[in-house]
């Protein structure tokens, strides 16, 4: 239903302001297109132009480089660790925030957004201060022969930090709008808390969870600043985003852009899935609303 409504309103909107003039409209649309073209599409196209500039063979060779493959493995590993952790955290946090009353709730909601507000480099530096050789926990870690910074755990922590908000941010408004009725209905029918979550809560928010997951994944694979600070600059031990930078600074243009194209594919896939999920979610929301209002 909502789809229909929005179609109607969008077809009415231009008719309601005919006096604004064709010129103004063309100017605004032109500006928007120019901006998108200049700052989004042109760089995107240049990545592929550079990557494939000397043909397919050097491109594939650059990707087959063992250091690139190691980077790719590390990137996927990071995402595979971080995204599930933040998905669980996001669902738990959204549940707590929307279903319980507790002191400090507004603070928690604000803190979830902290990673959006803080520079990723600062996140890396914070980890250094905590876990670096001179950091608070440095001596203890050295005694127990456990490395966090300049090793995988540091990169995981940095990526974890910057991707915290994605799932929770998607879920909180949706779960607020759904209210507790469905879950209470499940409880009165004899369902345990876990059954209620599994059969009722999760299916209701599954598209929003997926949406958060793919955004978190894109960020986890593309994160540069935070990871840059806490990783050892050794080829094969850094994720793809850092490897692109290394190759570029070593003037290996084709290889750098070949690796960059991988990250670009991730971005494009993310956008496609995101658009698809959004349309699904809208349809489901519209259904939910029509079943309430009728």
């Amino acid at each position: 239903m909502a789809g229909h409504v929005s179609h109607h309103s969008s077809s009415h909107a231009p008719a309601s302001g005919p006096t604004e003039g064709l010129a103004v409209r063309c100017l605004l649309i032109g500006l928007a297109l120019l901006f998108v073209g200049l700052f989004l599409l042109l760089p995107l196209a240049s990545v592929f132009a550079e990557a494939f500039g000397r043909g397919l063979k050097p491109y594939l060779e650059a990707l087959r480089d063992p250091r690139t493959l190691a980077s790719l493995r590390l990137t996927v590993l990071l995402a595979a660790i971080v995204v599930p952790l933040n998905t669980v955290f996001g669902i738990a946090a959204a549940w707590a925030i929307t279903r319980f009353r507790f002191p400090g709730k507004p603070l928690l909601v604000t803190l979830i957004d902290l990673p959006f507000a803080i520079s990723p480099v600062v996140v890396g530096v914070m980890l250094l201060v905590l876990f670096g050789a001179q950091g608070y926990f440095g001596p203890w870690l050295r005694e127990h022969d456990f490395r966090i910074v300049f090793a995988l755990p540091g990169m995981v922590l940095a990526t974890l930090f910057v991707t915290i908000p994605f799932v929770a941010r998607e879920l909180i408004p949706l779960m607020q709008s759904r209210g507790p009725d469905l879950e209470e209905a499940a409880l009165t029918l004899g369902a345990s808390g876990w059954q209620t979550f599994w059969y009722v809560t999760l299916p209701g928010v599954r598209w929003a969870v997926l949406y958060g997951v793919i955004l978190a994944n894109a960020r986890a694979m593309g994160e540069f600043g935070a990871v840059y600070v806490v990783s050892k600059p050794v080829p094969g031990e850094i994720p793809l985003a850092l490897w692109v930078d290394t190759l570029n600074s070593e003037h290996q243009g084709t290889a750098a852009f070949a690796v960059a194209s991988l990250l670009t594919f991730v971005a494009i896939a993310t956008l496609v899935v995101k658009a698809w999920l959004e349309s699904r979610q809208h349809r489901e929301m519209a259904r939910g609303q029509s079943s309430h209002t009728e």
Binding site: L182, E184, A186, L187, T188, L189, G190, A191, R287, S291
Partner: protein, 365 residues
């Protein structure tokens, strides 16, 4: 199963949503919890279900104290105001949900669902999703889902609020029939006194978290314990005036003081049906003008205005209205056959009214 509340209270912070409420419901009764919104009736229903915990007091189901029994183990069926059907499940899966989580064998569960689909006239809709159903169908699915695990109590929160007026009437009759067939103790919450009167065998009336009265529809209508109940159940004319020289003059009507001392205020109330009208201006002592007629069906409500400007509501059957040749704007004479003294204290409206006073035949008033 019987239900008993013993001075049950529920506080949300400083607010007492339910305040020291005690009442009991016998096995297989059909009872309405009635009151204005914010009266505490839904909170009482939710406490019986186990969706809220009482702050104090005892809650008994079938003679057993259930305060600490979690909602899943109370074996109740709860129908939510907006039905709360699971939007991601079909009608079949919605009804089967309570059986699945109780680990029924899938063949038994399927048989039970089929049986309920038949009882509720939902054959052919099993594969539909909730958003593909009409309001009335949704309500039936919600009740079927609540009844599937054979609960000992059926609790309904404003079951008719979300359907339009035309099918509301059918659904009321249907609920009564259903209750007669299933013999399951049923409580429903409503803010609509007409609905409560029509459906329930007993009515529990709440206001501001307190229980005002419990009784059969006839009892609460004919013997309201206080002014709130009298005004909430049906229509009540309330007149108020100062007592001087042993009588109270209110808008041209004269009432005996009923023990109210001079200088005090007499308040009286009477039902519209107690007002008798006549075209013959000499038949009754008082005269008035018929201002407006509301055609409600077999019974009509008329408003008459005294020369003093006082307006009184009266009720008259369609036949009598026609027989007397009444019409808006006519002069009529009238009398008040019976009334009751509401409160004898001076001052503004007293919410808690003096002990009930037997209707008093007031000749010559």
């Amino acid at each position: 199963m019987s239900i008993e509340l013993r001075s049950v209270s529920k506080r949300f912070g400083d607010v007492a949503a339910v305040d020291q409420v005690s009442f009991s419901v016998a096995d297989r009764e059909l009872v309405a919890l009635l009151g204005p919104s914010g009266g505490g009736k839904t909170t009482v229903l939710r406490m019986i279900a186990g969706l809220e915990n009482p702050t104090s007091g005892d809650l008994l189901i079938g003679g057993r104290r259930v305060n600490e029994v979690p909602v899943q183990q109370r074996n109740i069926g709860f129908v939510f105001q907006n039905y709360a059907l699971f939007p991601t499940m079909t009608v079949f899966d919605n009804i089967a949900f309570g059986l699945k989580v109780r680990s029924w064998k899938s063949t038994d569960a399927a048989a039970r669902v089929e049986e309920l689909l038949g009882v509720f006239g939902l054959e052919g809709l099993a594969r539909r999703f909730p958003h593909q159903l009409s309001g009335g169908q949704r309500q039936r699915v919600a009740i079927a889902r609540a009844l599937a695990p054979r609960p000992q109590l059926l609790l309904l929160d404003e079951p008719f609020a979300a359907v339009d007026a035309k099918i509301r009437q059918e659904l009321r009759e249907w609920l009564v029939r259903l209750h007669n067939e299933l013999h399951v103790t049923t409580l429903f919450v409503t803010h609509d006194q007409e609905e409560a009167m029509e459906v329930a065998s007993r009515i529990v009336i709440f206001s501001r978290g307190r229980l005002e009265q419990i009784g059969s529809p006839r009892e609460v209508y004919e013997q309201p314990v206080n002014e709130f109940v009298a005004r909430f159940i049906g229509v009540l004319n309330v007149l108020e005036g100062p007592v001087r020289n042993g009588e109270a003059q209110i808008g041209g009507l004269v009432f005996p003081s009923h023990g109210v001392p001079d200088g005090g205020t007499l308040r009286i109330g009477f039902r519209p049906y107690a007002v008798q009208l006549s075209r013959n201006l000499g038949e009754f002592r008082h005269t008035a003008t018929l201002r407006h007629t509301y055609f409600l069906g077999i019974l009509l409500r008329v408003e008459i205005e005294l020369d003093s400007g006082l307006v009184i509501k009266a009720r008259i059957t369609k036949e009598d209205y026609a027989r007397l040749g009444l019409a808006d704007g006519l002069r009529i004479s009238f009398q008040i056959r019976e009334y009751r003294v509401l409160s004898s204290q001076a001052g503004p409206l007293a919410p808690e009214v003096s002990p009930p006073v037997q209707p008093d035949i007031a000749e010559g008033i």
